[in-house]
């Protein structure tokens, strides 16, 4: 059972990685002059859009967290609206944190905001898909021994890897190498993306190595 679940997780995560890779490669065929570095803002939009739709689709198909009780249509709508509001709020929050960390306040607002959207896509959206707009569950998942399934474990790992990737992405900015990827926010968004993909790949492996130690509490 567990092995099968891990394999399912691996497949899902690899598909996610593939979607990220495709966003960097495919648009170049349709649109002349598209590069991740050159037309970074476009790429940011495409990447967040694709990854979010892909994730939503994936979760609709796989349904890793089967809710025991069936809910009404109105309930679903309210859940969906709540999710949208949460996502928007997380974008704003990420934007604020990024600015507090030293990003320019007035110049390049678009860049900063799109970067925040990307971060939200990689982190908040996953949480929303997996756990729904349920803050208590979020709090539980992001603490030690809080994960209750391999999916939640994977969520922990990808989220942390994304955040750390973005954090490390800020390191090369002051260097005087004059590379195009040192411009704000290219290095950070690339860092976040690499962190995310790394997290997606690491998560199943890590769970596989530690499958003996991982015992999940039942709900």
């Amino acid at each position: 059972m567990k092995e099968a679940a891990i394999r399912r997780l691996l497949a899902a995560n690899l598909l996610c990685v593939l979607s990220v890779v495709l966003t960097a490669v495919v648009p170049a065929f349709f649109w002349d002059g598209f590069t991740v570095l050159g037309t970074h803002l476009t790429w940011l939009c495409i990447c967040s859009g694709c990854v979010s739709t892909f994730n939503i689709l994936l979760h609709l198909v796989l349904k890793p967290n089967l809710s025991p009780k069936r809910s009404s249509f109105a309930h679903k709508i309210s859940r969906f609206l709540k999710c949208c509001i949460y996502f928007f709020m997380s974008c704003i929050l990420f934007h604020a944190i990024i600015v507090l960390y030293g990003a320019p306040l007035i110049e390049s607002v678009t860049e900063t905001f799109l970067f925040a959207v990307l971060l939200s896509t990689f982190t908040t959206l996953q949480c929303l898909c997996m756990l729904g707009p349920n803050i208590q569950a979020w709090i539980r998942v992001f603490s030690k021994n809080g994960a209750m399934s391999i999916w939640e474990n994977s969520l922990q790992i990808t989220t942390m890897c994304t955040i750390f990737g973005a954090w490390f992405g800020a390191f090369p900015i002051p260097l005087d190498w004059d590379r195009p990827w040192q411009v704000w926010p290219v290095s950070c968004s690339l860092g976040a993306t690499f962190g995310y993909t790394a997290g997606l790949i690491i998560a199943p492996l890590w769970i596989h190595w530690n499958r003996k130690q991982l015992t999940y509490k039942s709900r």
Binding site: I97, V99, L100, Y101, G102, Q136, A137, I139, R140, F142, S143, K144, N145, G146, M148, W167, A170, P174, L175, D176, D178, K217, R219
Partner: protein, 1088 residues
């Protein structure tokens, strides 16, 4: 409580660090003193009158040979680039490119010659330009009259030319603009900073060079090409671009020679060479090996060129050019004339006579310089100077004899020639030895000393860490870890002193102190190691315990990893010039990350959530404690503070698009009156707000009730200080011309108000030292009644106190409660503010210091200071909360993350108070707050400027003990909140809870250990940063940016370390002083 051992231990550790810094500095920083005197035409150095008569018009000291000169400086023109080897079949990209020079030298051997041009380290362009014009050996710090500008203050070739009415035209590298402001007749500067740009400077020069040469409106033309150097930095020498660049230079020289007249001397020189990677700055063979090429249309040399090109020192160019152009040699020149250029067309004897006369002038000038230098500074060894003096006087004596004989024509040519030759070689010997002596003391790194200093600092860091771990655990800590090492150090000092006394050598204080420091460190580690195996054996006898210990230790290490990781990043950032340049953004980034990580870790550990009850566990939900919102608000506030403090930044020239903050300029420079008034009002209002905040804090903890002089000072003196500062700002920022008649009054006020602030602040600090108790005791007992009845022991004994204090506390609590509840008071003492007596003293001291430092900064930086206080306050609260939430931590030890965040905030505010670790960014105005442009001593302005520069270091270091005290101070609100929840047994608990800082007095041993531990941790973190700087400076001493980035950073960091450590000692001793006062207070209470 052991007060003296703690202070002594910390002072000893500080001294160890100082010894390390001193040793490193003596090996790394080459210093020299600049002399202000300059040569002039009428100096009595000039040759005897019979030669003087033959001097043509417009010549000084020696007859002018050329009326014009063109100096082409090709930056980083290594000798390898300039030499031409026709036999080479497949030359490298940089070889055999300057074919035109070779062509000139072979076709006209008496007109042109190539030399090896030996540059003196440091081989950075600015230092080389200084060397090429002053004829001296510029070191990193040329101690001159003015630090604020890079302009050359010493006598130099350009100054001499201008002084003698020559027109100097310059084109090229704009470094010269800063070095020689307003010296040029005409100038075309091009930006030199962008190393990636190979062509702007060269093309710009080429555009102006030939028209300028043809116009003839110049006497000296200097063209400084940068393309070769930039090409080296960008691509390295072994690159096709370099071939292109050198070919371009070759063509440039070819057409330049066509434009020259017969009376013009052409010099083509490289200021330094380059390494295989294209860098320079150090003293390796490739870096110092530059090229010099001399050419003129009239014959220059009496003989043909030697086989192998001769090597000449770079400084030799200065006297040569000066005398060839007929101007005096610059005062501080230590170069030797290139005599073969003076031989002229005549026969051998007249050529030798001519050479002799220039040598004579040169030697006299060098002797004069050495004499005046030795009067000012002692860094040239006396016995060598003595030896030089003897050489000089004997040569001069022989010279005058010889001249007399020549005049009497008693000598025949062969003998005359040989005597002339020997005399010339004696002068040469003198000049070379003089230069060698100077070089030895000014232009050499001492690698051994650098490594030694580095090792000392590293060992001191290790010692701090070990001691901070050890202090808590061991019993006879001071004896084995302080006394014995000190004895070791003293023994070594005495031995070295004796050795010196026996060998009669000069006593080098620095070396001796470093040996002593090393010995005492060895002593410490020896004793520590001696105790170590015992512990291990003890642990070994109980295997299960050991394994638990191991696991615990592993967990501890993991816990340490996160604050230490941040520290590691910070230290790593010191090794890259870009990160040092951007440190103003690095420190806040790391601080924010540290705090966020702290919160994240607390969350991960589940500390922020309410412990799960059975019901919640079923649902799988968790909810936050209520304190979490408080903590999150604090973190948000900290982040906002950190971000806002970024608005007060100063710029470095390395960041091109940077604009310095508007807040740095004084209010007086604002044109807009309304904005000025608004800013003024804002500053004053915030200042008043600070006083209000401090007073309300003190009032809240009951420290403002007593009628002691200190409390009175806080009540009335603080507003007075603010008033004085406000008046000073008003007077200083008012426009000068608008006041008219009141001018004199203003002059007085500008001096009087700062002095009033100085006076008031020092009165406050004195009061604080004399009686730091801010406790109001209300004695309501009857005369006969004693507070604590069961006490009959000998009053004053330490054991007694230990027992008494808690009792007094309980009594106070009870009395308060009974007063409230029953309305009748029993006989007790009520002491207000005893629970925060330590912090209150520190807060008062910090506020006073803050006022003083604000006065030294420009008005609007007071906003930054308020942010500083706010951020420190928020940090303390976060620390307290995090500690409360983490639970299990030992209350008497301050965790590493707190110390590291405190120090990160200190370095963040170094930048946010408008400073940068470069010399032009120092706020020199601070020296004149309260003084009218005159200082009798140098000490006072140094103190003022130092206090201004290291303001945040001072404040944070003095406030460091607050990290220990604050959790105790903040106990009270916690317990009050808990009160309604817990129903039973709260009586007893609450009495315990209200102890606050008196908890520290309950266990004086632990208190003193905790202070020592805190100090050691602080010194460890500071020392690690310093170590990173030192290592960066040592390892990267060949780096392009070493003199611009790393060396100033190292200087500022080490000065900051000294200031911080001294202030830390002061802060801790203030706490001890309060502790003394509390002890006496209790003993008096008991006696009553």
């Amino acid at each position: 409580m052991q007060r003296w051992p703690v202070l002594l231990f910390l002072a000893w550790v500080c001294l160890l660090f100082f010894a390390g810094i001193g040793l490193f500095m003596s090996g790394f920083l080459l210093t020299r003193i600049e002399l202000a005197s300059s040569s002039s035409c009428s100096d009595p150095l000039v040759p005897p009158p019979w030669e003087r008569q033959s001097l043509p018009l417009g010549s000084c000291w020696a007859p002018q040979r050329f009326s014009k000169a063109v100096l082409v400086i090709i930056d980083a023109l290594s000798f390898e680039f300039a030499r031409f080897n026709p036999t080479k079949a497949s030359p490298l990209p940089y070889e055999n490119k300057l074919s035109f020079l070779h062509h000139l030298a072979t076709s006209q051997p008496r007109h042109a010659r190539l030399y090896r041009f030996r540059a003196d380290p440091p081989t950075a362009t600015m230092q080389r330009i200084k060397g090429l014009t002053t004829g001296s050996l510029p070191t990193f710090i040329d101690v001159g009259s003015n630090f604020a500008t890079y302009a050359i203050q010493e006598d130099n070739l350009l100054a001499q030319l201008v002084q003698n009415g020559r027109r100097v035209v310059f084109m090229g590298d704009d470094t010269w603009e800063g070095l020689f402001p307003k010296k040029f007749f005409r100038s075309y500067f091009f930006p030199s900073f962008n190393v990636k740009d190979l062509h702007t400077v060269d093309d710009g020069i080429m555009q102006h060079l030939y028209p300028t040469v043809d116009s003839g409106e110049w006497d000296m033309l200097i063209a400084h090409f940068l393309g070769v150097d930039h090409c080296g930095h960008k691509h390295g020498p072994d690159h096709p671009e370099m071939a292109k660049k050198l070919t371009q230079m070759n063509e440039m020289l070819r057409s330049l020679v066509d434009h020259l007249g017969n009376d013009t001397l052409l010099l083509v020189a490289g200021d330094h060479g380059m390494t295989d990677t294209g860098d320079h700055g150090g003293d390796s063979e490739k870096e110092v090996n530059a090229a010099l090429f001399v050419y003129s249309r009239t014959p220059l040399f009496g003989t043909g060129p030697p086989e192998e090109p001769e090597a000449v020192a770079q400084v030799n160019l200065v006297p040569t050019v000066a005398l060839l152009l007929g101007v005096p040699i610059p005062y501080s020149n230590i170069g030797e004339v290139m005599a073969e250029l003076f031989s002229g067309d005549g026969d051998a004897v007249s050529a030798a006579l001519q050479q002799l006369s220039v040598y004579h002038i040169n030697a006299k000038q060098v002797d004069r310089f050495l004499h005046s230098y030795s009067l000012v500074a002692q860094d040239l060894p006396a016995e060598q100077l003595q030896h030089l003096q003897e050489l000089f006087s004997s040569a001069v004596e022989e010279h005058s004899q010889l001249l007399a004989q020549v005049q009497g024509s008693t000598l025949v040519p062969p003998e005359l020639e040989s005597r002339l030759g020997s005399l010339i070689s004696r002068f040469q010997l003198y000049l070379r030895e003089a230069r060698a002596v100077c070089t030895q003391s000014w232009a050499r790194f001492h690698p051994l000393r650098m490594v030694g200093g580095c090792t000392l600092i590293a060992a001191s860091c290790l010692l701090c860490y070990v001691a901070s771990e050890l202090a808590a655990s061991s019993d006879c800590f001071y004896r084995s870890c302080l006394l014995y090492p000190l004895i070791w150090g003293l023994v070594v000092t005495v031995l070295l002193g004796l050795a010196h006394a026996f060998t009669q050598e000069g006593l080098d204080l620095l070396l001796m102190s470093s040996w002593a420091a090393a010995a005492s460190q060895l002593g410490f580690f020896w004793h520590w190691w001696g105790r170590h195996p015992k512990r291990a054996r003890l642990a070994g006898s109980q295997p299960p315990l050991a394994s638990i210990g191991l696991r615990q230790r592993l967990r501890e290490w993991l816990g340490l990893a996160f604050p230490m990781g941040i520290l590691l990043f910070r230290c790593g950032a010191m090794f890259s010039d870009s990160f040092v340049v951007a440190e103003a953004r690095v420190a806040p980034f790391l601080l924010a990350s540290l705090v966020m990580l702290l919160v994240g870790k607390l969350h991960w550990d589940g500390r922020l959530t309410v412990p799960e009850g059975p019901k919640q566990q079923l649902l799988g939900f968790s909810s936050y404690r209520r304190e979490i919102w408080y903590l999150l608000c604090l973190v948000a506030m900290l982040l906002v503070c950190v971000r806002l403090s970024g608005f007060f930044h100063q710029c470095r020239e390395e960041i091109l698009q940077c604009r310095p903050s508007l807040f740095l300029s004084p209010l007086a420079s604002l044109r807009n009156t309304r904005a000025k008034n608004l800013f003024y009002l804002l500053c004053v209002a915030l200042l008043a707000g600070l006083v209000y905040a401090v007073r309300s804090w003190l009032r809240r903890y009951g420290n403002l009730n007593s009628s002691d002089p200190l409390v009175l000072f806080v009540r009335w003196g603080f507003p007075l200080v603010v008033l004085c500062i406000a008046c000073y700002w008003a007077v200083a920022s008012s426009a000068d011309d608008s006041l008219g008649k009141l001018q004199e009054l203003v002059q007085v006020a500008v001096v009087a108000f700062p002095w009033a602030v100085y006076g008031l602040a020092s009165v406050g600090l004195l009061l604080l030292l004399c009686n730091p108790m801010t406790v109001f005791a209300k004695d309501t007992r009857e005369s006969a009644g004693s507070i604590v009845t069961p006490y009959l022991g000998v009053p004053g004994s330490e054991v007694n106190f230990l027992h008494v204090i808690p009792q007094i506390y309980k009594r106070m609590q009870e009395s308060q409660k009974s007063c409230l509840e029953r309305g009748n008071c029993r006989a007790t003492i009520a002491a207000y503010g005893l629970g925060s007596v330590y912090s209150a003293a520190l807060v008062i001291a910090l506020t006073l210091l803050g006022f003083l430092l604000m006065l030294l900064h420009s008005e609007r930086l007071s906003l930054a200071f308020l942010l500083l206080f706010l951020e420190a306050f928020v940090l303390l609260h976060i620390h307290t909360r995090a500690r409360g939430l983490a639970g299990d931590a030992e209350p008497f030890s301050v965790p590493w993350y707190a110390v590291i965040s405190w120090l990160l905030a200190a370095s963040q505010f170094f930048y946010s108070t408008g400073h940068q670790p470069i010399f032009p960014a120092i706020h020199w105005n601070a020296a004149f707050v309260g003084f009218h442009l005159d200082h009798s001593t140098k000490l006072l302005p140094a103190v003022l400027v130092g206090a201004n520069t290291f303001a945040s270091h001072i404040l944070f270091a003095v406030g460091c003990p607050l990290l220990l005290l604050w959790p105790f101070v903040c106990e009270m609100p916690n317990s009050q909140r808990k009160k309604p929840k817990k129903e039973s047994r709260e009586e007893l608990q609450e009495v315990e809870e209200h102890m606050m800082e008196m908890r520290l007095r309950e266990s004086p041993e632990k208190f003193s250990t905790a202070l020592l531990q805190l100090g050691l941790k602080y010194l460890f973190v500071l020392g690690t940063q310093l170590l990173a700087c030192v290592c960066a400076a040592m390892i990267l001493r060949r780096h392009l940016m070493v003199w611009k980035v790393f060396a100033p950073k190292f200087l500022f960091e080490s000065l900051g370390f000294m200031v911080s450590s001294i202030c830390l000692l002061l802060g801790i001793s203030l706490v001890m002083r309060v502790d003394c006062a509390v002890s006496t207070w209790f003993s008096q209470l008991q006696l009553r």
